[in-house]
């Protein structure tokens, strides 16, 4: 049963620290998405990649967030420096394009708390 995996599942850190979240997409998927979920804003798209190339990161605060795909099996999302307002659940999703349309499979999320 193929799944998207994310590490860590939970992270508590102090303001100003660097946070790195990792995602392993489903083997064979060629699109990866990073979302942030909060009660107030719901699901926000931060960035997405297709064939490891960044297609859109307009939803991401550029000054502190960065997203990369060093290889097809790993996507990373970094926050440096972290701030309390970054506290949220961060989901990675991988996608499979079928006939031009895409279904997304979400990982379990990383629950981040910045104190």
């Amino acid at each position: 049963d193929a799944r998207v995996t994310q590490t860590p599942r939970h992270k508590v850190t102090e303001m100003g620290q660097e946070v790195t979240m990792r995602c392993q997409p489903i083997l064979g998927h060629n699109t990866v998405f990073w979302y942030r979920q909060t009660m107030m804003q719901g699901l926000e798209l931060l960035a997405y990649f297709r064939n490891r190339a960044p297609l859109d990161d307009s939803g991401m605060p550029k000054d502190r967030f960065s997203a990369e795909m060093p290889d097809a099996t790993l996507a990373t999302l970094k926050i440096q420096p972290s701030e309390p307002r970054d506290s949220a659940v961060y989901f990675c999703a991988s996608g499979l394009v079928l006939a031009g349309w895409e279904t997304q499979y979400f990982g379990p999320g990383t629950r981040l708390l910045v104190l």
Binding site: L43, L45, G95, T103, Q104, F106, G107, P108
Partner: protein, 113 residues
């Protein structure tokens, strides 16, 4: 940019009652997808609608895509406590290269036993 509005934001129903959530897009969609997120969980894909006026059923769940491909609905008949969660619609644009999904804010369903 594309916006997807979903109503209601919250819905409390007695077990056995029906439930409907509605989704409206500011632009014409190539397809619309529905996801369910259980409390503490992650969104899970339910279904995809592609054709104008399409209706699909999954047991007690009925999904509709509007004729203009700008709106959709999810109807649950005779809700059960296992239906608890947040239901999201997500629309994919119809322009070239419109790979990303735009998610609605979701409808959080509570079922009172």
């Amino acid at each position: 940019g594309q916006q997807v509005m979903q109503i209601p934001q919250y819905q409390h129903v007695q077990e056995g009652e029906d439930f409907t959530t509605y989704c409206n897009s500011s632009t014409t969609l190539s397809n619309i997808q529905w996801y369910k997120q259980r409390p503490g969980g992650h969104p899970v894909f339910l279904i995809q609608l592609v054709k104008s006026g399409e209706v699909k059923k999954q047991k007690r769940l009925t999904f509709q895509f509007g004729e203009a491909k700008k709106n959709s609905s999810l109807h649950i008949t005779a809700t059960q406590t296992t239906d608890v969660g947040t239901y999201f619609c997500a629309g994919q644009g119809s322009g070239a290269g419109s790979y990303q999904l735009t998610f609605g804010k979701g409808t959080k369903l509570s079922v009172i036993p």
